[in-house]
């Protein structure tokens, strides 16, 4: 009985300790961002590995998500004779929800896990402490460029995802199923608002990029420096980032689209 209570208390204390360290870590990263300005090449390098290398999975996933939305939406809408609204359905669901969320989830799996493994291995092979030894702050040199790269890359990836998805819906709807070309686009332009829909999607994806970067980098930085510790940290990154993105999406949706 007492043992159970003690275990509960210990895990609660550990949880809050981790949470606190995570927040301090975030503060240090944010404080390290200004020092990036004279060192743009670090950011470019990370944008390449985080953004450019994620491009393929994002583009292909966006295309197929849009095409599936086109197919499924058509079969439902055609019953009501409202297949002209197909474009609106595809565009709104992509721009508002699926673009930021699915791009964020794929990003967590593709880039977040890689970041955690990289940082965790750097820690395990004592590269980070080596840097500290040389009076180089690893947070400024290693973490901050990766953090900023994520925050920049995810909104761009989400926009690419949405745009390609709308094209996929267009191919299926107009090309395959014979929805009217003009009605498809005019309905979209009538009903999709730039600030309410597109910009809110962008804000969402910035928030998701922030969260994904924070979790991935912190898990790597805080990993137990063994091969098992790194592998567990990588798993935790994917799980926690996915959960965080999905729940944050609900909160942001509730705030944005009242």
């Amino acid at each position: 009985m007492m043992g159970g209570l003690q275990r509960l208390g210990r895990s609660a204390l550990l949880f809050f300790e981790r949470l606190g360290r995570g927040n301090l870590f975030l503060l240090r990263v944010l404080a390290g961002l200004p020092s990036l300005l004279p060192r743009g090449h670090l950011l470019v390098q990370q944008l390449y590995s985080v953004g450019v290398l994620s491009l393929l999975i994002i583009a292909v996933a966006g295309l197929f998500v849009g095409m599936v939305l086109g197919l499924q939406g058509y079969y439902t809408l055609v019953d009501f004779g409202a297949e002209e609204s197909l474009g609106v359905m595809v565009a709104l669901s992509l721009v508002r929800e699926l673009g930021p969320v699915v791009a964020g989830l794929l990003f967590a799996g593709r880039a977040g896990s890689a970041l955690t493994a990289e940082i965790g291995l750097m820690k395990a092979t004592e590269q980070l402490s080596g840097m500290e030894m040389m009076a180089v702050d690893p947070v400024k040199r290693v973490i901050a460029p990766r953090f900023l790269a994520c925050v920049i890359a995810l909104p761009l990836l989400a926009a690419i995802f949405s745009a390609i998805g709308v094209m996929g819906g267009y191919f299926v709807g107009v090309g395959l199923l014979g929805v009217d070309d003009g009605a498809f686009w005019s309905q979209i332009q009538n009903r999709v608002d730039f600030f309410d829909d597109v910009m809110n999607g962008v804000i969402k994806s910035v928030a998701f990029g922030f969260v994904a970067a924070w979790i991935a980098l912190y898990e790597g930085y805080d990993a137990v420096p063994t091969s098992e510790g790194v592998s567990r940290a990588t798993t935790r990154t994917v799980v926690h980032t996915s959960l965080a993105i999905l729940s944050l999406d609900f909160v942001l949706t509730a705030l944005m689209f009242d």
Binding site: L156, V166, F194
Partner: protein
């Protein structure tokens, strides 16, 4: 050096593609292109019942979109709905006795405000109010009236 250069080019392409996608979403998907002429002048119309009219709904004339619904309010004294319409500047020759009606596009479509020009020589000025308005048709009311008529007709026979 070459490695660095190709990475930079790839990142440049990536950023450009992302911005281009955003641009496509802004111009092709959303109605931002219609925003350029958004700052028109505003007119007011009072309706007994606006049905399901929403803010930002289109305002049309002869089927052409000439503006959009800016604001929907309620007058506490006359119990009327007060609808502010934003009309684009290029359509500033609305006759004074034009009328505004609320119609539905299609059977299940959204509701919009249709303007019909009158015959007066003077034009409407910003802030003017439409004298003649026609409220939205509420389906339940129509069905109710129809049933009432049908019942009356049935009694007579």
């Amino acid at each position: 050096m070459f490695q660095n250069r190709s990475i930079e080019i790839a990142v440049g392409v990536f950023v450009a593609a992302g911005l281009a996608a955003l641009f496509v979403l802004a111009m092709k998907v959303s109605n931002l292109s219609a925003f350029a002429s958004e700052n028109g002048y505003s007119l007011e119309a009072r309706f007994d019942n606006i049905g399901g009219l929403k803010e930002r709904a289109p305002v049309t004339m002869a089927g052409v979109r000439v503006g959009r619904v800016e604001k929907i309010g309620f007058d506490n004294e006359t119990y009327e709905a007060v609808v502010q319409l934003n009309i684009e500047h290029q359509y500033d020759t609305l006759p004074k006795d034009s009328s505004a009606s609320i119609y539905t596009s299609g059977l299940l479509g959204e509701q919009y405000v249709a303007l019909e020009p009158g015959g007066a020589m003077a034009y409407m000025k910003p802030g003017d109010t439409f004298k003649i308005t026609q409220s939205a048709l509420v389906l339940e009311e129509m069905i109710g009236q129809f049933l009432f008529k049908a019942a009356e007709g049935g009694d007579g026979q």
